[in-house]
Amino acid sequence: MPAPPTDARTLRAEVVRVEPCGDDGVILVVRPEHDLAAIRASRFFMLKRDDRVSPLIPRPFSIYRQRDGLLEFLIKVMGRGTRALAESRPGQALILTGPLGNGWPTIDGGGAPWVFLAGGVGCAPFPMAIEQALAGMDGKAPARPEDITFLFGAATKGLLYDLDAYTEQGIRVLAATDDGSQGFHGNVLQLLDGLWERGELPRDVRLLACGPDPMLEAVERLAHANDLACWLSLETLMGCGVGICNGCPVDTRPDGPLGEWPNAKCCVEGPVFSTEAIALG
């Protein structure tokens, strides 16, 4: 059985502040009981409040930012678990397990341009991806700002969480909303199509995507149809995040690099998978 990452630990943390973000989200800023080494973007933590009131099972969240010894998580309030976290007050004790999962592949400069596709709260693994790509990852050439296009889509403008943060990084940022309340009227794939049609982006790009299932299935189809390198950061139900509950299976491709077993564990084999490895649609 795949094991959890060797740097993952269970640790206590204290809520420092909770900042409203968008129509239904917060940025939860916490101080772990001890400093953590730099965490790769799109790795995640399991979070729950350390009390007997909150739901039993912790919830998985991508690391949103890591700075000054603090960890930040973007949390969209969707149910009991997220509400309990979003309603935390400074000083509230949390239990964190992490960092978990694999994180994005090396985002380097010099090759085909990168297109990052985010849907709603699926933007969470991207601020650090951009930061790390521009700084250089794994000893490879850093990406230049012009190498990265960030396409951020949501149902409405209030769900384009923390949009301004991306524009500060010098990369190309374009927004799309289903209701046309901000940016392009449509979804991120239509937005990408438009860029291609107008010649504003080469056809050969490398894709990273995170968002709701229908969006990721469409990105998967696009990658296969155009033979594009593509990685998806998946969100599934998770009971533990460390590979022991078997509650987060993802269908694998029979001829893919993960071998013959028909499913992978999202938590310890992902959450980032190449579209050569898994079969969503």
């Binding site: 269970t10 039993l56 509650g247």
Partner: protein, 344 residues
């Protein structure tokens, strides 16, 4: 890698004032904390969270004769006071376990239970034969009670005669101690306990998950793809405690309590009710480091209460019956018995 990193490393418990050791039939455990099958990996996956040397024993996920791909997703659904699961015993089969998991377990400084499953009496027996020669395994736990296979019919978990046939066959096929893991989904669990005891079981694990179900009335969708599944977590604790108590008062072989245990207080409740050891399951999902931490909490609780030996608590519940727990009575002798299996 895992074996060298996590292997035979002895970590002394913090106080060492309180004696946490217990005698589980022929097995000597350094403390009564075990992992529950299916909730702490197959082997040493969790050693970075809890070194095996901290706990009394590790119980593997159920190993079956053939690979099982598991059930469709969603496989888990949280409820108000627990978790429903329907994993379907996903595992790569006994040959994979023999080749890839067990070698890492050699020299591990804790008692190793391999949990075995099968769909017929013959399959269970074949599993015990296939694994019976491996030194890495100290004991078998027999999964008579998974609610998520064979349509939830529990053919071995609800019929005392069927359960007895499995245990009898396994006992004839192996010299290793055999523990029968029972289901709470019966009206008289004592009948099951007595049947497996008569069939030669060395102990009982009580209990597996309760059958349960969740549904979203708005979408009309069940929480699990298989509709029903096994319910675990704090909500089942009173049910599990009663089952374990009923088993313990009915048989003279030791009982391992399991079901909803999430604190050191819970552990001691199961011991007082008659259990010799306990297993931690769903609680490890919320805190994978819990088993090791619970050993420290146990020591602290007992120190505060002035209890020098945890085994003195076993079966001391004031339930109106006068009895001596067999495992407790034989404990003093077994502690000095050079032939005991296990690694205190």
């Amino acid at each position: 890698m895992r074996a060298t990193f996590c292997g035979a490393r002895r970590v002394l418990s913090m106080a060492n004032m309180t004696d946490l050791s217990v005698q589980l039939g022929p097995l000597s455990l350094r403390n009564p904390i075990l992992s529950a099958s299916g909730t702490y990996g197959h082997g040493l996956e969790m050693c970075h969270f809890t070194p095996p040397a901290r706990i009394g024993g590790l119980v593997s996920k159920t190993v079956t004769p053939n690979p099982r791909h598991g059930n469709a997703a969603p496989r888990i659904a949280e409820t108000e006071a627990g978790l429903l699961n329907s994993l379907g015993l996903e595992n790569k089969g006994v040959e994979h376990y023999l080749a890839h998991t067990l070698p890492d377990m050699a020299g591990v400084d804790t008692v190793v239970f391999t949990n075995i499953g099968g769909e017929s009496v013959d399959e269970f027996i074949a599993m015990a034969r296939r694994l019976g020669e491996r030194d890495e395994i100290d004991a078998f736990e027999v999964n008579l009670s998974c609610p998520n296979v064979q349509g939830g019919r529990l053919p071995f978990g609800t019929d005392p005669a069927n359960a007895a046939r499995v245990i009898e066959g396994i006992k004839a096929a192996t010299t290793k101690p055999v523990f029968a893991k029972l289901s709470p989904n019966v009206s008289r669990i004592a009948d099951m306990a007595l049947a497996v005891e008569a069939a030669g079981a060395d102990g009982i694990t009580a209990v597996n998950t309760l059958l349960g179900m969740a549904v979203d009335w708005r979408t009309r969708k069940p929480g699990l793809a298989t509709v029903q599944g096994g319910y675990s977590g704090p909500g089942v604790k009173p049910v599990a405690l009663r089952c374990a108590w009923e088993c313990a008062r009915s048989v003279s072989i030791p009982v391992i309590g399991c079901g909803g245990i999430s604190s050191a207080e819970d552990v001691l409740e199961f011991l007082v009710a008659g259990c010799t050891a306990v297993q931690l399951g769903t609680a490890c999902f919320a805190d994978p480091a819990l088993p090791g931490r619970m050993v420290d909490e146990l020591t602290r609780l007992l120190d505060d209460a002035g209890v020098a030996r945890v085994r003195d608590l076993i079966g001391t519940v004031q339930d109106g019956t006068s009895r001596t727990c067999a495992s407790n009575a034989s404990d003093a002798k077994a502690q000095t018995d050079a032939e005991v299996v296990g690694r205190p």
